[in-house]
Symmetry: C2
Subunit: 355 residues, 2 copies
């Protein structure tokens, strides 16, 4: 991406002492003057908050009245760095926000660790950091600590970003993949496979324009709405790498239950379905970055579904299956032709570097 | 490093379902079955704790009675992965533990994000994870969440590790680089430059055997001892990348004070001094990973120094300078020949990939 394009897409994020036509050099990872200029010129202004601005070795954050925290981390190595609907910066924020939200926690504070490749355009980095700013603002989280390392040319694809996060778990909330019970209903928040196919399209690997946009989004406000609607949500999990199939297998194993899905109930956009058929992929294994699966007590399913549909990221929510006693640890699919087949975890690697 | 050697150095860390002669493939980052086998076979057993073992999207940790948290992150890209005195795993734990400790926090929970290169030997990875286990045990922290990504051959040097951490800040403790006051005394916990020169030696870049061992160590118990000895410690900071010179410049800027050092008081081991002279390096700019600088009220300096010397990582602690009113934001060095020279931040890059 040219420097001109990068800047014109977002505008300069702040009055930069660093010039946008500069590139990252090893000195930016030295811990000396160049590191400080990069941090204070490029990272801190868009992410500005009083905690980060202090510039100490760790951010000090208030946490009064919390008794339990959720703590999570995700490294992001997605390639390409930009794709329809998002980029590595937005993905890095949403990935960790969503991991915290899936435990019912209110995400509060994030850290960001950057591994930059020598030669990376400063304008591109500024654009990624601005996407992080926007996503963090939507999620309502603060980035309170950061770190920057620089590796030699060829030793990273532009940049890798790790985010870690801390959230506060409200009293009485105890979600876990181990809590699914026979009789529970499985709710999916919307159509699957958008993220994986959007990234594949951005790589030019589809051979056609799929017109698919990544679903990458922060789901914490959706989760808050769901938890306010019902005290009988047992499991929440976002089906990222490995897709819905792998995530439901995890839950079936953790809870020692069976999960039976209704294939015709599982929403897949026609463009995603078409791309999957061309490539021989099953949408059940494609990564999502803005969807969640909820396992809910059967008497509360309609209430939870109704609440979800009032929200931006849950308006296409549907019931896709139910939890059974047996066969324990198995996920089964009632196909559109009426047969029942086992859906296993993703076995090998379908789409490397998808997040 | 051969698989045989790696195993014989540490012994197998656990009964692995994964064979030690296997290598990392892209499928280990898929989020499917291979990811689960890697996590449950290699990562979880040595780091085992009930929080990590649950296998949810985030670790849930108790945090009753805390009002302030310290939150920090560090990515580690050190090359080579093993060096005298440590390795990337030990470094990753100590780096984040020390950042939290420098705020006076008690480090509690860590996350670990791995970016693995396709082809990495499983035995080497197991050895790194075991080093993390040992360092975490010494520091008294738990690893409560993790993430693994795999990138193609050539896109990382074996592995990069990010750690993030959460610590509890005790009531009444308010350390910051902004708290240095004229009249304060600067204490250094021991000889400088060991880590940087040890890594350089491991790269074969010295051209001779320097016989230097990295100082990488968790400093949180040293800090606890210091804080118990005095309520008048104003600043703690570990002089990592950029060395003592860059770290003291940060403090001088944050506090808007001058810092005057006594060159002859600054301890440098003869082997480190010799290596620096050969290479044209100034030890003041060489990275340390197990040292700290303390800025202490002058009436408490002896008490703090005495307490430090009772500890394993503080027994060589010395007073190296003092804080003055002016010239603000400057660090000055009284040289051994009696002149006074300005010591600036590290300007460019001296030793890439040192941590």
């Amino acid at each position: 991406m040219s420097e001109e394009k990068a800047v014109s897409m977002n505008g300069p994020v702040c009055p930069l002492p660093l010039r946008h036509d500069e590139k990252i050099v090893l000195g930016h990872g030295s811990g000396g003057k160049m590191s400080h200029d990069l941090i204070n010129g490029l990272f801190v202004p868009p992410l500005a908050n009083p905690i980060l601005a202090v510039g100490d070795d760790a951010g000090i954050v208030p946490i009064a009245n919390a008794t339990r925290l959720a703590v999570s981390t995700d490294s992001h190595v997605v390639w390409p760095l930009f794709f329809p609907g998002g980029d590595i910066g937005k993905l890095a924020i949403c990935g960790t926000v969503n991991d915290l939200a899936m435990m019912g926690a209110t995400p509060r504070y994030l850290t960001a660790g950057f591994i930059l490749e020598e030669g990376l355009e400063m304008a591109l980095l500024a654009q990624v950091v601005d996407a992080m700013r926007v996503a963090a603002a939507e999620a309502g989280v603060k980035i309170v600590a950061g770190d920057t390392k620089v590796v030699q040319r060829g030793k990273a694809d532009g940049l890798y970003i790790n985010t870690a996060g801390v959230g506060v778990v409200p009293e009485g909330v105890t979600l876990s993949g181990a809590n699914a019970q026979p009789g529970d209903i499985i709710i999916l928040s919307g159509p699957i496979g958008d993220h994986g196919i959007a990234v594949l399209g951005a790589r030019g690997e589809l051979g056609f324009d799929a017109d698919v946009v990544s679903d990458v989004a922060p789901l914490n406000h959706l989760v808050a709405t769901m938890l306010a609607a019902s005290r009988h949500i047992h499991v929440l999990r976002d089906p990222t790498r490995g897709g819905v199939a792998s995530t439901l297998n995890e839950i079936a194993r953790q809870s020692a239950v069976a999960i039976v899905l209704d294939e015709k109930a599982i929403p897949v956009r026609p463009s995603v379905q078409a791309a999957c058929e061309m490539l021989g992929f099953d949408p059940l294994y494609i990564a999502n970055e803005g969807k969640l699966l909820a396992v809910v007590h059967h008497q509360e399913a309609d209430r939870v579904l109704g609440a979800m549909r009032q929200t931006r990221y849950g308006e296409e929510a549907v019931i896709i299956g139910e939890v059974k006693e047996a066969p324990k640890t198995r996920v089964l699919l009632k196909t559109t032709i009426g047969s029942l087949r086992v859906v296993d975890m993703l076995a090998g690697e379908m789409l490397p570097r998808i997040c």
